[in-house]
């Protein structure tokens, strides 16, 4: 019965503690700046100190970048490691990182990277071309079975195949300690984009694991808990401590290779803290009550979070549309299963493969109303698979479908559909139009889909919602093909875009050509045309030429309407006003320049 007293006394102690809530400042070692230091131009010169607090919904599952993981892991590791080149989301161009410069050979297939000299890993060991060669060596390591002659990667990751072009490896060699040359098997335009996604790891730490073929067990979460200093990178931060489920603290890397114009080594902030939360609700509450420094704010949360702007001294930055794409698609696969059963009932295939029918669905769907009702008007219907934030890749002038039920009816009439006495739609053979729509449970597009169902109901089409778990849905998309229609979300929130990332989607032979994957040869003329355009753009290095071809691809997709794109919401990001040097990109991470952020008031009360 002493507990109430204990709680009371604990509370008292807490009040006493309220004054000393701030962790001590980090002592900066004055290691000399590297020879090829990057002096960041045009920023306000700041002072050291302060904690920058972020919330994160996914726990890191590993600290080894090449172990398959999740978005949270990738964004945290992004603060600790560097790639050869970077993407600047403000200038929208590729900028130097570990490589200070590069040149493309005459044949358009060789790329020579000149590395920065004098960079050190966070533990003080020097960085050199050996590390680059080691990293690519690990990612591309494979073995050939002497009996079957089959080659399998030693460490199965997505990067292994990403660095293969037409089944052939990208070649790489060390020319000297600070020069590395790559060679692609054919002319391959997206190569530089691939270079942005392969962080360089330290050979001196990881070689022993690789020798034991145990690379995937290097740098687990346990390493991070027990010996955080073992995990060394070249990025702006190093790991200070990790408490699973609670938080992860990063401190400045004493050997980081960027400095400001006064010669102060970046980053300015003393600590970058990731707080782990279980759901995005809590994330928003944290930010709106001043407990985190920056956060994305959902479209319908903006209004009430804005009310707190003054109290907690932050600003909500309205950015453009989110690059994330969600869509409903119809199954257009005319194939049959091994037992000779068609994947899709023939009469449904007849409806779906009729372009007029597909267009009618788009006209019948009131996407704007949902955006107003659910997202409080903060969004717009998507017209192209390549969404507006991708800048010049996006095609503005394509066919746009807006709610017009009478147009939908006209199109259906044109396709010889009729209506019965109850107002239900009948196909030319007199069959009622009714299909199932599978949606993965727990998706955020629920209201959209429910409205789709209601809207189609209004023009006489019955849609049955069929919640399935994600696995089942994927099995249906990939193997069994026995479904009518589905809903799926696609893409990332990164600002860097290159269509090569979605190759398997555009090409008719691709496994993610979602409405009819793995075609032996293009089933329709328009798919053949897309194949041709896409392959062409991959072999041209000129950006404008490539974009022109992708515009045409978008035109075809808009006209043929194999998918019903839903809506894209405006992305809003909040950031505390005490931070300086904020440069808000229109898409992607709002703290892409975290090393430049500083605050005149490092200690809060």
């Amino acid at each position: 019965m002493k507990a109430p007293f204990r709680i009371v006394s604990a509370l008292g102690l807490l009040l006493a503690l309220a004054g000393c809530a701030e962790p001590p400042a980090v002592k900066r070692e004055q290691a000399p700046l590297p020879k090829d230091v990057e002096i960041v131009q045009g920023i306000e010169i700041g002072q050291y100190g302060g904690m920058f607090i972020l919330s994160e919904t996914t726990q890191p599952t590993t600290f080894n970048y090449y172990v398959p993981s999740n978005m949270g892991t990738v964004s945290i590791l992004g603060q600790m490691f560097n790639t050869l080149v970077d993407f600047n989301p403000i200038k929208m161009e590729i900028v130097p990182a570990l490589a200070k410069s590069w040149e493309v050979g005459e044949d358009q297939q060789t790329y020579t990277f000149h590395l920065r000299e004098g960079i050190r890993w966070a533990d003080g060991e020097p960085f050199s071309a050996d590390d680059v060669v080691f990293t690519f060596g690990v990612v591309l390591a494979d073995e050939t079975d002497p009996e079957t002659g089959e080659t399998t990667p030693l460490y199965p990751t997505r990067y292994y195949s990403e660095l293969h072009i037409d089944g052939k490896k990208i070649e790489f060699e060390k020319l000297d300690d600070f020069t590395v040359r790559f060679r692609t098997p054919t002319v391959y335009a997206p190569f530089m984009y691939d270079m942005m996604s392969v962080p360089i790891l330290p050979k001196h730490k990881l070689q022993p694991y690789h020798e034991k073929r145990d690379f995937m067990r290097a740098w687990t979460t346990q390493t991070a808990i027990d010996t955080p200093s073992e995990i060394v990178g070249t990025g702006p931060f190093v790991l200070e401590s990790y408490r699973p489920g609670e938080r992860l603290i990063l401190t400045p890397n004493p050997h980081y290779w960027k400095a400001d114009e006064s010669g102060q080594r970046l980053p300015y902030i003393d600590r970058l803290i990731y707080k782990f939360v279980t759901e995005s609700n809590t994330e928003v509450v944290y930010f709106a009550t001043g407990q985190t420094s920056a956060s994305a704010v959902g479209p319908s949360d903006v209004a009430w979070v804005k009310d707190n702007e003054e109290t907690y001294d932050f600003t909500l930055y309205e950015r453009g549309l989110s690059p994330y794409v969600t869509m409903i698609w119809l199954n257009l696969n005319p194939g049959k299963s091994d037992e000779g059963k068609p994947y899709l009932a023939p009469h449904k295939l007849r409806w779906f493969s009729n372009k007029l029918f597909r267009q009618a669905l788009l006209y019948a769907f009131d996407r704007e109303a949902v955006i107003d009702a659910v997202f409080f008007g903060r969004g717009q219907p998507l017209d192209s698979f390549v969404s507006p934030p991708y800048g010049k890749w996006h095609n503005e002038n394509i066919k746009k479908y807006r709610y017009a039920p009478e147009k939908a009816r006209a199109l259906l009439r044109q396709a010889e559909f009729t209506w019965d006495d109850d107002g239900r739609l009948l196909d030319p053979d007199g069959k009622r139009v009714e299909f199932d729509l599978m949606l993965p449970s727990g998706g955020s597009w629920e209201e959209m889909v429910v409205t789709f169902k209601e809207n189609l109901d209004a023009i006489g089409i019955t849609v049955n919602l069929n919640p399935v778990d994600f696995t089942t849905m994927l099995r249906k998309i990939d193997y069994t093909f026995d479904y009518d229609a589905g809903v799926i979300g696609w893409g990332s929130n990164s600002a860097a875009y290159d269509p090569s990332g979605s190759k398997a989607f555009y090409l008719s032979e691709g496994i993610y050509h979602i409405w009819h994957p793995k075609q032996k040869k293009p089933a329709t003329e328009w798919e053949a045309r897309i194949d041709q355009l896409f392959n062409e753009q991959e072999q041209i290095l000129d950006l404008q030429e490539r974009q022109a071809r992708m515009h045409e691809v978008q035109n075809i997709l808009a006209e043929e309407a194999p998918m019903i794109l839903l809506a894209s919401t405006f992305s809003t990001v909040g950031m505390q006003n005490r931070w300086r040097n904020i440069m808000m990109p229109s898409a992607g991470s709002p703290i892409w320049n975290i090393e430049m952020l500083w605050t005149p008031e490092p200690v809060t009360d």
């Binding site: 292994y160 995937m216 699973p244 509450v285 009702a373 209201e447 696609w490």
Partner: protein, 750 residues
């Protein structure tokens, strides 16, 4: 003493075997595996996934999925060598992973129990001392409230409270700078973060404990030794606290053991909503992602915790009550070693049998399982119907007898009336609701309740205009209103699927399709919350009734037979019961759910599946209690008489035992229904139960919680489903108590 403890710990072995076996089978049946997520990522090539499948042992060398018993055997072999496997997501040994989290959950459970005790014991004692006073009544009311509020709903409110007042941290376990505090500071910081989760988690068990405490205290106060003590001239304080309290507290101590298991379930929800980094979060993720070894290890830990909790409770009981001897029958949950060995052999033999079958006919199991799943669901529906009839018959029989007695008590009349209104609303939803369940009105999303006033010769509904689209706020449109009419014509629909209706009870009479009457506002797509509450009630309210019917019937058959026959059947069935009760309910629920749910379930099938899952979990407790009662009844003379007249056992059970149990069954049913309503709500709240386009109160609450705007923009009408759940549960609890008082005043203390 030592041999007792050893024997107790020995029972862990078959229990652990069975739990892991069950987990392994369930994970195998459920669609998908650990690589599901990875397959979903468009940028990860198929070959990578295939290769991972092989290296993780999900498929054998020919690419066929590995049979579950192979994997289980493999796992068991490793466990015997002390290796519990590796988490596939985190790539570290599971015990390392669990030990990262277990401490937090353990401490939270401990503080919640402590909190519950500190509130429940004094309140219970005071309520007993001042029996029938205002204080007693108020504390009883508060206890009902605490018992009836869904844990997750309370957790949400707590988060909101913390965010708005800033008095408490919004989740987490420690402050950001805590690593740099002095030790005492860290401790205080931790305690500060524990306050809210402790209260939320602990509040549910207060009510039950308080009632036990009160009833016991009253009981013991009238005992002879108290009179003796008073006669000796001891001061009243000493009598109360030294003599009565010490006796009355015993049941609470034995309750302590089981509290751990139920707290683990509760912790899963609370940890998720309140962002407390414990085992619950981890297990929830692992179950969803099918990180098999983590699930198995976590289940093992929870079972060990339960057994040890019970053990400690028994030891504490022996210490507090010298009359109880551990070796004797009093602590009789230990199993004799011979039977223990028998069970182990049985389980091993079952595994062996399975393996032989699969080896002989490789494809039979999946086919059997598929058949079983569908069979189970349709058979389940049939059984449910049968059970419903039986229980309905009993209720009807008793109700005639009891109805006037209930109505004569104000509490009884109030609760019965409330329930009658709720069920009436749900049954006639198609007629009473002004709109169909999913009728959208996108231009009026998040509309507040409409004002209704009298004017122009009738009731009129105020019209509103959108004031600020950014926060969806509405203002009354000056001078614009629609007439509210009763028995308005509507589009054709059917009541109960077969009575055609062309009218609805009330609605607005207007040409404007967007003119609506919203008694309780509208949701994110402008659907009428009041209508949805009525329709949702059909699911939420019926699930309890059907679930409890199945549970009681099953429990009666198993428990009744076990109590009547005794012997081997009794022994086996009670072990199964204990086994089921030893798994935290919510874990079992989630595991069963992933195993039973088939893609492409229609809403009806989802509904049936949920009922079946809830019943599978629920019958064990009922069977245990019924066994005890049937044991005592079967010793009574009239049963012996029937036996000697040559009646068959089943007839005796039906004709003699059942009627004597009937009133108990009724009380138990009334008190158990809330559990089902809350479980459905929790499941739907987690997004794992009822889904669109159906509606249930749990789902509606979950939809309203998608973001915090509901609370911060004061869309209060969207949390009415939570209030509906709360009212229903309270009504059932009150009614159950009233019934208990009527049926058996002595039963009060149970």
């Amino acid at each position: 003493m030592l041999s007792f403890i050893l024997r107790r710990l020995l029972t862990l072995i078959p229990l652990l075997l069975a739990v892991t076996l069950l987990a392994s089978v369930l994970m195998y049946i459920s669609p998908g595996d650990i690589l599901t997520k990875m397959r979903a990522q468009p940028d990860i090539p198929k070959e990578t996934v295939t290769q991972l499948e092989q290296s993780l042992g999900l498929v054998d060398s020919e690419g066929e999925p590995t049979r579950w018993y192979v994997r289980y055997g493999h796992w068991l072999g490793n466990v015997l060598q002390g290796d519990f496997g590796e988490s596939i997501t985190y790539r570290i040994p599971v015990f390392q992973l669990i030990s990262q989290r277990a401490g937090a959950t353990f401490i939270l459970s401990l503080t919640s129990i402590l909190f519950a005790w500190c509130i429940a014991v004094p309140l219970g004692v005071l309520a007993a001392i001042y029996k029938d006073s205002i204080f007693d009544k108020i504390s009883a009311l508060l206890a009902y409230a605490a018992l009836s509020i869904p844990e997750f709903f309370l957790a949400i409110l707590a988060v909101y409270f913390a965010a708005v007042t800033g008095l408490f941290p919004v989740g987490g376990r420690s402050s950001i700078g805590s690593e740099f505090y002095p030790f005492a500071g860290q401790l205080a910081d931790y305690a500060y973060h524990l306050i809210l989760p402790t209260i939320v988690l602990g509040i549910g068990s207060i009510a039950g404990m308080m009632r036990i405490m009160r009833a016991n205290f009253i009981d013991y106060r009238e005992q002879g030794f108290v009179t003796t003590a008073r006669a000796k001239g001891l001061p009243e304080k000493v009598v109360m606290f030294k003599h009565v309290l010490r006796n009355a507290i015993n049941p609470l101590i034995s309750y302590l053991g089981f509290a751990f298991s139920s707290l683990l379930s509760g912790a899963l929800l609370v940890e998720n909503v309140m962002n407390y980094p414990g085992l619950g979060q981890l297990i929830y993720q692992a179950l969803l992602e099918e990180d098999e070894y983590v699930v198995m290890a976590a289940l093992m830990i929870s079972v060990v915790m339960l057994v040890i909790g019970n053990l400690l409770a028994d030891i504490a009981l022996a210490w507090s009550d010298p009359r109880i001897r551990l070796e004797g029958k009093g602590g009789g949950r230990g199993i004799p070693p011979l039977r223990l060995a028998l069970i182990c052999i049985l389980i091993v033999a079952m595994i062996g049998y399975e393996i032989v079958i699969e080896w002989a006919m490789p494809d039979i199991i999946p086919i059997l399982l598929a058949g079983l799943k569908w069979g189970a669901i349709y058979l389940g529906a049939l059984i449910a119907l049968g059970c419903l009839t039986m229980v309905g018959y009993i209720v009807f029989m008793l109700a005639r007898k009891l109805f006037w007695q209930i109505v004569r008590r104000p509490m009884g009349a109030a609760s019965l009336g409330t329930l009658a209104v709720l069920y009436f609303g749900a049954i006639f939803a198609n007629f009473l609701a002004p709109y169909p369940m999913n009728r959208q009105n996108l231009v009026q999303s998040f509309h507040p309740p409409t004002k209704i006033f009298f004017g122009e010769g009738g009731l009129r509904v105020q019209a509103y205009e959108l004031e600020d689209p950014a926060i969806r706020s509405y203002v009354p449109a000056e001078g614009k209103s629609y007439p509210l009419k009763f028995f308005v014509p509507s589009d054709k629909h059917k009541l109960w699927g077969f009575i055609p209706l062309e009218h609805r009870f009330f609605g607005v009479d207007s040409e404007d399709p967007t003119a609506r009457v919203y008694l309780l506002g509208s949701d994110s797509t402008g659907r009428d919350v009041f209508s949805r509450l009525l329709y949702g009630g059909q699911i939420s309210l019926s699930i309890g009734v059907i679930g409890i019917s199945i549970t009681l019937t099953l429990g009666f058959i198993v428990g009744g037979l076990a109590g009547y026959f005794g012997g081997a059947f009794d022994f086996l069935s009670m072990r199964v019961v204990e086994f089921l009760m030893s798994i935290p309910a919510l874990y079992l629920l989630l595991a069963l759910r992933s195993a039973l749910f088939q893609p492409g379930f229609t809403p009806t099938q989802v509904y049936l599946a949920i009922v079946i899952i809830l019943s599978i979990i629920g019958w064990a407790g009922a069977a245990r209690v019924i066994r005890g009662m049937s044991l005592s009844i079967s010793g009574r003379p009239f049963v012996t008489a029937a036996e000697s007249m040559g009646q068959r056992p089943l007839a005796i059970l039906g004709k003699h035992v059942l009627p004597n149990l009937a009133s108990y069954l009724l009380v138990a049913a009334t008190l158990a229904i809330p559990g089902y309503i809350l479980a459905e709500a929790a499941l739907s709240f987690l997004g794992l139960g009822i889904t669109e386009p159906s509606a249930s109160w749990g789902l509606m609450l979950q939809q309203s919680q998608k973001d915090m705007k509901v609370l911060f923009l004061d869309y209060w009408w969207l949390i009415t489903p939570g209030i509906a759940i709360f009212i229903t549960v309270i009504a059932f609890n009150v009614l159950g108590d009233v019934l208990r008082d009527i049926v058996d005043p002595k039963m009060k203390k149970q």
